[in-house]
Assembly symmetry: C2
Homo-oligomer: 265 residues x 2
């Protein structure tokens, strides 16, 4: 088994996030869980060895990754796919929305509820990416700009609002939210779902500032925007944002600001 390959040295290495340098990208969803939970981690960001390490089971573990991010666990085993990484660490880091003394089945169900919302938020992340790459990920934006303009129209008017309505509904109806402002997606505590939605809102606001300003002003997604403000002031996150370590969005990432795609009447 892969676990048997883990040496003592590997076991003391702790968590290592393998991801591209420079960009926040999908690795940022994983970083935020570590930063919020205060769990130490290091990164491997060498672009010349990243793919050859994580996609080769002899250099990482079985099964190999399809794409970054991949997280090397203290056991030496690698896990990839952002939602699989988050679902793996969420219960260990206390990010599943229930208290530690909850029974095992309640923990499992709350963990799955968090996973459900992480997946829905990451679906919106993918759709936000696909606005600028609707035809082929391997081609440049300029080669698919006409299709991108068409897709941005559907995204801004239909998809984005549909997802935000959903998250507003989830927040407003959480029967166990610990605050009167209703800024917790699941249960009584900050979860990976809150952290993922926070970063997603940051990314969409970077890419579509005019559209997001309109949606914030509408008041229809009040708790969603309050969650963003709440999370950025949470212990761990506040210090991370102030540290200068958080990578900036730019035109090569998942979230890209092309003003022509953010047309707003």
């Amino acid at each position: 088994m892969a676990q048997e390959r883990a040496t003592k040295k590997q076991k003391t290495e702790g968590y290592v996030l393998h991801y591209w340098p420079v960009l926040p990208g999908r690795g940022e969803y994983v970083r935020l869980a570590f930063e919020y939970a205060g769990v130490p981690y290091t990164e491997q960001n060498d672009p010349s060895s990243l793919l050859s390490t994580i996609t080769n089971p002899a250099k990482s573990s079985h099964p190999p990754a399809f794409a970054p991010p991949a997280l090397k666990l203290p056991s030496g085993r690698f896990i990839s796919q952002t939602p699989a990484i988050l679902n793996h660490i969420a219960p260990k880091f206390g990010l599943i929305g229930v208290e530690d003394d909850a029974d095992e089945e309640e923990k499992e169900e709350s963990r799955s509820a968090v996973n459900q919302l992480v997946l829905t938020a990451l679906d919106l992340c993918n759709e936000t990416h696909d606005v600028h790459h609707p035809i082929a990920t391997e081609k440049y934006y300029d080669e698919q700009k006409d299709a991108a303009l068409l897709r941005s129209d559907s995204y801004r008017k239909n998809r984005l609002t549909k997802f935000l309505r959903h998250f507003q509904n989830v927040l407003a109806t959480n029967p166990n939210s610990p605050d009167t402002e209703k800024t917790y997606l699941v249960g009584t505590k900050t979860t990976t779902a809150d952290l993922v939605l926070f970063h997603l809102l940051c990314g969409i606001t970077y890419a579509f500032p005019r559209r997001m300003a309109t949606l914030e002003k509408s008041g229809d997604y009040e708790d969603v925007f309050k969650l963003k403000k709440r999370v950025e002031n949470e212990k761990g996150i506040k210090e991370y944002l102030a540290s200068g370590r958080r990578k900036a969005f730019d035109v090569n990432g998942v979230f890209r600001h092309y003003p022509e795609l953010d047309d707003e009447e």
Copy 2:
């Protein structure tokens, strides 16, 4: 908590899959896990009440679903998002690739490895869907046919082969595969990842029969196609396929056969 709302009656109801009627769709990935494991389940397929039930926390549970499928658990709680459902039931159904006497951390890591591969397979499922809907899910195929033709070219030549190469690599390098033919993705047993890849291959073969015939003939993805044959003969799956209960692919589903998108030199 949602669990407290579960009545005795609900507890005896067992698992109920809420999904659209007629189509296999994403519900099929969940059905296959039940069919293979031999766990009883029923379905709610009334299209007039489906969305109003699963998206309303008062009629289902918190957090509500964004979209079907949703699985009502014996506790009365609903879980949605296909990979979240599968990850929830996989350890209960013995579908995480390790033996029952493995230690808890080994089980968790194998469960996450299975989850990782389920997510990658479902990414390919989404990309396969997006070939016929590259611009807007709310519009008809005919309204986005030009973009679909462009996207199908990238899909057939780049994306599909990239994913199949990955799964071939995963299968061929599984150090614990119980068969010499290497048709198990993770560990020593059939997992939800095997079942999801099986249905995905069925769907892609329905939608792109010419492209898939070429890829099978190439011999480059030998173990992938052997997995498909192995799973269709597994106990539980064989009987299900012969039962007539399995819904047929058709032109309204995730997988659609438009011959013009399956152009092959």
